[in-house]
């Protein structure tokens, strides 16, 4: 395999690492500018090291696969969003349930389930809107604890499938883990962790009493809504066909992207226009994040960093490093950094599982652990019911500490 040789030997790869560190700090402080930050970082790195982008793409085909899968999922989310799927589901919950405890359990389970197959950002956003609507409807209802629990459930639920989160896709591609393999190993850990944390959250946050919230709408789910019907059909089709992609010798990630294009094409003229509603900056963010990391890796940046250490040869260490990183920065960024390191060590699957489980739990621990957390909490703050960092950390640490231990035990004995 041809390696990328820079045109000039100066500057050293350390500069690349510094640029990456700066980008990660900036992206944690200003998550809304993630795409901007990583486009700029990548542009600077390419210019500093005079890199050939075409060669990076050829050498690191994984980047295209990951972006293809994220594109497919974004199309699916855009379709369901346009079909008001999340809104209709939320209205139905509000209209049917009376007990706060039932609402708490159902919303958490639904959030975890939907996060396993759809974009966490959209799922959490709509669930937070339901919580806010409940608070508007019933003055004595405080949505802050519910939102905190929803964030935890969403992050733990997203661990279950290959398409549950961008970080899963990055690990799946780099660790060569297919859709079914992912499902068989990660789903039991995800389900157990979600149920355990939910039980703790329920004990901590349960409420008594009964109430009724008057809502209108929600019946369009059976009516004329081509986007919704097509979006749901596409989701079912994707979930049905993905397990067979490896048998057809098609990469899972490429299969998601290809299916999305064909679905848009077959859906008709109006459905095909959903293409313009895809969240392109998110896609650009993922692409430039991976390009930045891989460029630094190709320059030998990570070798300098981990030359003398055997830290990453041990599942326990990888698991806790992954948790720690995901607590500090976005989980996608955490696994994007870990991936080249694990790849260079020819890591076995046990280490890859440790990375993915660790990153999912880590992202549930802090308010800034993932972009979905940040957006959900901002929405809550906009409704003048912001939650303090201390309160969030208190609930999340209490709910997740047993989960961290249980998940590690499952990893240690199960994989």
């Amino acid at each position: 395999m041809e390696t990328i040789v820079p045109l000039i030997s100066f500057p050293s790869p350390t500069y690349g690492l510094l640029i990456l560190a700066l980008a990660l700090i900036l992206s944690s402080i200003k998550p809304e500018y993630k795409a901007l930050i990583f486009i700029s970082s990548f542009a600077i790195i390419v210019n500093v090291y005079s890199l050939n982008i075409e060669k990076i793409f050829i050498e690191r085909a994984e980047i295209i696969k990951i972006v293809s899968a994220v594109f497919g999922l974004e199309v699916l989310s855009a379709l369901l969003n346009k079909g008001r799927f999340y809104e209709l589901i939320s209205l139905r919950i509000l209209g049917k349930l009376r007990s706060p405890n039932r609402i708490f359990i159902l919303m958490n389970l639904l959030t975890a389930l939907l996060s396993a197959i759809l974009s966490n950002v959209l799922v959490l956003l709509y669930m937070v809107l339901v919580a806010i609507k409940l608070a508007e409807c019933i003055p004595e209802f405080d949505p802050r604890d519910l939102v905190t629990s929803l964030i935890i459930s969403s992050n733990l639920g997203s661990m279950a499938t290959f398409m549950g989160d961008i970080s899963n896709i990055i690990v799946g591609v780099n660790g060569n883990i297919g859709f079914l393999d992912f499902l068989f190993v990660a789903a039991p850990i995800s389900i157990t962790s979600t149920l355990l944390s939910l039980s703790i959250l329920f004990i901590l946050l349960r409420r008594g009493g009964r109430f009724y919230c008057e809502v209108t709408g929600g019946n369009e789910i059976h009516g004329e809504n081509p986007y919704l019907i097509f979006g749901l059909a596409s989701l079912i089709l994707m979930l049905t066909l993905l397990p067979f992609s490896s048998r057809l010798d098609i990469d899972d990630c490429l299969a998601i992207g290809i299916m999305a294009v064909f679905l848009l094409f077959l859906g008709g003229e109006e459905i095909s226009k959903v293409f313009t509603e895809v969240d392109w900056p998110s896609l650009i963010y993922v692409g430039t994040l991976l390009l930045t990391v891989e460029s630094i890796n190709l320059m030998g940046g990570f070798e300098i960093l981990f030359e003398e250490t055997s830290l990453f040869r041990n599942q326990f260490n990888v698991y806790f490093v992954s948790i720690g990183l995901s607590m500090l920065i976005d989980d996608a960024e955490a696994v994007a950094i870990l991936s080249p390191v694990l790849r260079s060590l020819n890591a076995g699957r046990d280490l890859w599982w440790a990375a993915i489980v660790g990153s999912s739990i880590g992202s549930a621990l802090t308010p800034w652990g993932s972009i979905a957390n940040i957006i959900a909490l901002r929405k809550l703050r906009e409704s003048h019911r912001g939650i303090s960092i201390f309160r969030f950390l208190k609930i999340s640490i209490l709910a997740n500490l047993p989960t961290i231990i249980l998940a590690y035990m499952m990893l240690y004995w199960g994989v």
């Binding site: 500018y33 486009i39 700029s40 294009v261 003229e269 095909s272 293409f275």
Partner: protein, 441 residues
């Protein structure tokens, strides 16, 4: 609604005729398959059967399934220079728009005070021509159309706005042809030719300026009654209220810097795409919170569409169809440069009038290159690029400036499609003929 039945029927027909064609055609199966997919794509784009990017991506996937394209080919044919240049310029233009650069310029123009309609038309048209040469045509027209309508309304000009706006639409189309960054086909050719920025303008500039002057004269003649009307309202100097805006100054300086880098390309050896990306990156770092919405406003759809079309064009080149096409054109014209110039001028402008000029340009650039190689007639490049630009004025749907102008005139004055097309076709014939004669004489 007819296209919903016609297009699938034709697609089915194309699939079915492959089998007899495979047995009787002199073409290889892969060449035949690529041609059929290409026809299907062109048909879908011409009839707007699906969103254009979805249609082009689907066609690429079909080529991939057929084994004609491989993953490495896609990366190879994806001309990152073209995409980088376009993306960089999009960011700069969007930033300028956000900083109200064009509005400021129009305000300055209004403050000049006009006595007759033709003064107004010439000034606004020159403004549109020059700005379209450096900025995205759609952005320019989106600013200039409401401004012009506003001026005409303030001055009580009524339907006189129709010829003024038509002149602006033509100016925008021609302005886009003036520089390497004016229009996507120019960007593609610029990247392909590896010529200097000034070299490009020196070649295409004189005929473009001449054709532009002819277009103004033609409009003045066609609408001579309206053009000599007096403008009575002189109270328009108060429009000059330019607010202080440091972001605007930074954006303008960035554009000037990038243009300077383009001009000094031979000296600095910095490629146009790198120059544009320098400017864009600088603005992204400096612009701060303003840049996040700007990044969202970037025409990602166009970038992906252009990328997919470039790959498609690469696949046509890979299977040898473009070489075949160049051979056929060269043989049928006996390599005669005069016939070739005439053929390219009329064919290119006609096709660009009917379908999107981006896929046409992507396919034809390698063909024109080969024809230039076979005949040694370098003029073909400039004939081709200008005629692609001219095609945009023929019909209301031939280009973005025409479409935007037609939509505004229809909404405001009830102008009919055929009324617009009558003027457009007449101007198209006059200007293509002028282009043809310029290169023949």
């Amino acid at each position: 609604m007819r296209r919903h039945y016609i297009v699938p029927a034709i697609l089915l027909l194309l699939t079915l005729i492959y089998f007899p064609l495979r047995d009787y055609s002199v073409l290889e199966p892969k060449q035949l398959q690529t041609i059929l997919v290409f026809i299907a794509l062109f048909l879908m784009l011409a009839m707007e059967y699906r969103h254009r990017t979805v249609a082009s991506l689907t066609s690429l996937l079909i080529l991939w399934f057929l084994g004609i394209l491989k993953g490495e080919d896609m990366i190879h044919y994806l001309d990152l220079d073209v995409l980088g240049l376009l993306f960089g310029m999009m960011v700069i233009v969007e930033t300028l728009r956000e900083a109200r650069f064009l509005s400021m310029l129009v305000r300055v123009l209004i403050s000049l005070g006009f006595r007759k309609i033709y003064h107004l038309t010439i000034i606004l048209s020159l403004f549109t021509f020059i700005t379209s040469a450096f900025l995205d045509n759609a952005t320019v027209m989106l600013i200039i159309i409401p401004m012009t309508l506003g001026i005409c309304e303030t001055l009580n000009l009524g339907r006189v706005a129709v010829p003024v706006l038509i002149a602006l639409s033509i100016s925008s189309n021609l302005g886009g042809a003036l520089t390497p960054i004016g229009d996507p086909p120019n960007i593609m050719a610029y990247s392909y030719l590896r010529i200097s920025f000034i070299g490009f303008i020196l070649n295409i500039g004189p005929p473009t300026l001449l054709i532009y002057a002819i277009s103004l004269v033609a409009i003045m003649t066609l609408f001579r009654r309206e053009m000599v009307l007096e403008i009575r309202d002189k109270n328009n100097k108060d429009k000059l209220k330019i607010e202080k805006n440091s972001f605007l100054i930074i954006s303008i300086l960035t554009l000037v810097f990038v243009l300077l880098l383009f001009l000094l390309q031979d000296l600095t050896k910095i490629s146009p795409s790198t120059s544009a990306l320098y400017g864009a990156t600088f603005l992204m770092i400096i612009g701060g919170r303003r840049m996040a919405p700007i990044l969202r406003e970037v025409n990602w759809d166009l970038l992906i569409f252009l990328g997919s079309i470039l790959i498609f064009s690469g696949s046509l080149e890979k299977v040898g169809i473009l070489h075949l096409l160049a051979q056929i054109i060269s043989k049928s014209t006996h390599g005669n440069p005069h016939i070739l110039i005439t053929l390219i001028a009329w064919l290119s402008s006609l096709i660009s009038a009917l379908v999107d000029n981006i896929p046409y340009a992507a396919v034809m650039i390698p063909v024109v290159d080969e024809l230039v190689g076979l005949t040694g007639c370098h003029k073909l490049w400039w004939v081709f690029l200008l005629s692609v630009g001219l095609g945009g004025i023929a019909t209301p749907i031939a280009s973005v400036p025409s479409l935007l102008t037609y939509s505004a005139l229809r909404d405001k004055f009830g102008l009919k499609f055929l009324e617009f097309m009558k003027i457009g076709l007449l101007m198209w014939i006059i200007l293509t003929l002028s282009l043809n004669l310029y290169y023949l004489l």
